[in-house]
């Protein structure tokens, strides 16, 4: 089963609602009580702490405030629901033993709240291979006055060893570099998309050759009254059926070559 990260974003606090019931009635018949664990990377190890049990059919919301007493750093907290508590220290991200579903995946509600509003999506994250890369097109920037736009790159890997990679933000049409940032593994890297010179008709393309990540787009009014959060699909989702991941390679090869010049 997957992990559920407690997100972070400027002016907001993250939370996760875990659900101990299957998202459908046919892939899993019986659901048992599950161990809630929080896992984070610290000092070159994965650390885990047991947070309690979740009975069948129950839901529990866990906020960043609740885990801050356990995690004494800015590490990304990863919640999980499993059949056992996780080892307190490990060299590799613990594998969560629990029944899985696929139509749809067993998810949690991942949210961000300001004092006045909140936003969420149904999500989960599994470890990316360290050889992975990222290409995404993000038409989410909002231009109203007082609106702030951020890209949040969510990555976890099996290894707890800290590494980073360069992410480039370009204009897809002119292939002009508009910004560059460092993305760190096992974390949620926040990058401002404002003041990069993008206009209403520009299509931003985000390229990272050395790391995979889930690209989340977060917009907020500067007072936090209004929030928006959504992720983009991987390029494979531009097609259906057949060899979708080969189709993704075609797009990635083209754009990695274009943006390398």
């Amino acid at each position: 089963m997957s992990y559920y990260p407690i997100l972070k974003a400027p002016g907001c606090e993250g939370w996760v609602t875990l659900c101990n019931f299957s998202p459908n009635n046919w892939e899993i018949r019986d659901v048992s009580s599950k161990f809630i664990n929080v896992t984070w990377a610290e000092g070159g190890k994965w650390r885990s702490e047991y947070l309690g049990m979740l009975a069948p059919d129950e839901m529990r919301t866990i906020t960043i405030e609740e885990v801050s007493g356990v995690i004494h750093s800015n590490a990304l907290p990863l919640l999980s629901l499993g059949a056992a508590s996780l080892p307190t220290s490990s060299e590799s991200l613990p594998q969560i033993v629990s029944p899985q579903t696929h139509v749809p995946n067993w998810r949690a509600t991942l949210g961000l709240s300001s004092a006045q509003s909140s936003t969420c999506y149904q999500g989960e994250i599994d470890p990316f291979p360290p050889s992975g890369s990222l290409l995404t097109f993000g038409p989410f920037i909002q231009f109203n006055e007082g609106v702030e736009n951020y890209l949040i790159l969510l990555n976890i890997e099996k290894s707890p060893i800290v590494r980073s990679s360069q992410v480039e933000i370009l204009d897809a049409d002119q292939v002009v570099l508009r910004g560059r940032a460092e993305v760190v593994n096992n974390d949620a890297t926040i990058i401002s998309l404002d003041n990069l010179g993008f206009g209403q008709n520009d299509l931003p393309v985000i390229v990272c050759r050395g790391m995979s990540a889930i690209p989340l787009y977060f917009s907020k009014t500067s007072d936090g009254s209004f929030l928006s959060l959504e992720h983009t699909h991987p390029p494979a989702s531009y097609v259906i059926h057949g060899k979708r991941w080969e189709a993704q390679k075609v797009i990635k090869n083209l754009w990695f070559a274009r943006t390398a010049q």
Binding site: F21, M59, V103, L203, S228, V239, G242
Partner: protein, 266 residues
């Protein structure tokens, strides 16, 4: 033996019941059936991207466009619009410009791309637009974004529409993994992306005692959609279950609290 029996049980749920049917002819475009909302309180925008251009770059020798097909909530075609694509540019389409005087406040729409590069067909794949929509509620300074959900419908070269959503032999439950809280209005959008009319049952269950708090039934035409409004009381935090013959009746949730909109998929 138990494992074997479990495998057989799951096979019975899957055999001849794909999530998404495959069009027989390669090269035909596929689209989601996105939900549009249009009223004094609601505006809908679609982020149009030239998908063909992402595969091969900007080839000016090929004219690329999309056909927007807009349906009412019963799935009846209301209008069709052709829009030229601008390669590697963002094109935000304001649906309300199409939807003056259509007589209903919500429905579905599809976006069919005119061009499928040979490289896509050679992989046995179909170009599919499951792109991004934003909804603006009561003139808010910020729209709420959500991605597409299903590879729902194909348009054949003769213009015929082919819904692709799979139908289950037995009824299935889609259990939304989200806590429904008080003081919040949840408007749950369900689309029938199958070729046949479907009976949809939307049920809200109390998280404290498992009792059914509310229940709605609707009969949805192919390509049609319905929006179930739901509020729970202070003492009745709940969760939602959608029961139908759709293989995956994944809903779109419009969550409104203090006049502020959040939107997400199940």
């Amino acid at each position: 033996m138990l494992l074997y029996m479990e495998r057989i049980r799951k096979k019975l749920w899957n055999i001849m019941q794909p999530l998404t049917h495959k069009p027989k002819v390669l090269g035909v475009p596929v689209s989601d059936l996105f939900i549009w909302r249009n009223s004094k309180d609601w505006k809908t925008f679609f982020e149009l991207t030239d998908i063909g251009g992402l595969f091969v770059g900007c080839d000016d020798s090929v004219s690329r466009f999309v056909k927007f097909l807009v349906f009412d909530n019963d799935g009846t075609l209301l209008l069709e619009k052709q829009i030229s694509l601008t390669c590697n540019k963002r094109q935000q389409i304001d649906l309300s410009k199409f939807l003056c005087n259509v007589g209903c406040e919500f429905g579905t729409f599809s976006v069919f791309h005119s061009y499928t590069h040979q490289v896509v067909s050679d992989l046995g794949s179909y170009v599919s637009d499951r792109g991004y929509i934003s909804y603006c509620y009561v003139g808010a300074p910020l729209c709420a974004y959500v991605h597409g959900n299903h590879d729902a419908i194909a348009q054949l070269s003769n213009g015929e529409l082919l819904p692709l959503g799979g139908i289950s032999i037995r009824t299935r439950e889609y259990r939304l993994q989200h806590a429904l809280l008080s003081a919040t209005l949840y408007e749950t959008g369900i689309v029938n992306h199958s070729a046949k009319k479907q009976h949809i049952l939307c049920r809200v269950i109390s998280t404290s005692n498992g009792e059914v708090i509310k229940e709605w039934k609707v009969r949805l035409g192919s390509r049609g959609c319905h929006i179930f409004p739901c509020e729970v009381n202070q003492s009745q935090a709940g969760r939602m279950v959608i029961i139908s013959h759709l293989v995956m009746a994944r809903p779109l949730i419009f969550k409104i609290k203090n006049n502020k909109l959040d939107v997400f998929h199940g």
